[in-house]
């Protein structure tokens, strides 16, 4: 499951997508909207994506994780649009025979996604709005 969507997701569905009878571990990560950014109170975040390009990149990241770590399945869901404080932004789930590979792969996927996916984030704080500087 690799998805970029305006809709909210249910972590249960993301986990179900990576479950396998071979797996002894499922690791999940959820990124949520933080209420404070550089000392300013955040009202909401707005995510914009170049969907076709971002989806290709998420597929590449999932594939690369599969090559680097001994894992079974991966799922990545990233939301776009306006999100309020506390709402889920992104979910990553990884299944593996043993937990160590799943932990490492999950970490690898979220770190990569943070720097290479064609997604942009705008913060709306009490002091105004600003684009969050991208990495690449």
């Amino acid at each position: 499951m690799i998805k970029i969507t305006e809709k909210d997701f249910d972590l249960k569905d993301v986990i179900a997508a990576v479950k396998s009878p071979r797996a002894g571990a499922v690791i999940t990560f959820i990124g949520t909207v933080r209420g404070l950014s550089e000392g300013d109170q955040v009202k909401l975040l707005r995510f914009e994506s170049y969907r076709s390009m971002a989806k290709k990149e998420l597929l590449r990241i999932a594939e690369e994780a599969g090559g680097r770590f001994d894992i079974i399945k991966t799922a990545i869901v990233h939301r776009t649009g306006k999100l309020k404080v506390g709402e889920d932004i992104v979910a990553v789930a990884v299944s593996a025979v043993h937990r160590d590979a799943a932990f490492k792969a999950c970490r690898f996927i979220i770190d990569e996604l943070k720097t290479t996916a064609a997604i942009w984030k705008k913060e709306y704080t009490v002091r105004g709005e600003r684009w969050v500087k991208g990495m690449v």
Binding site: S52, M53, H78, T115, T116, A117, M135
Partner: protein, 86 residues
Amino acid sequence: MDVRAMEIKIKFFAMHREAVGRREESFSMNSPATLKELVETLEQRYPALKQLRKSTIYCINQRIVRGDVELREGDEVALFPPVGGG
């Protein structure tokens, strides 16, 4: 040289989209033409893009392009700032 018109689709994202005031447009250019020529034309039309030049990533058909390349009929060119999800 054989000169033909070709259609290029251009997409803008994030602060680039805000700077030009639109998400996308179609552009007719005489072939052959390069990305650099397209960007020069766009910068004339949207001077705000010049200010963003240092933080602009150029893509053709969802691939990041560094340097100049020749454009082809139907190419999808995208301009946007550095990326980062999550």
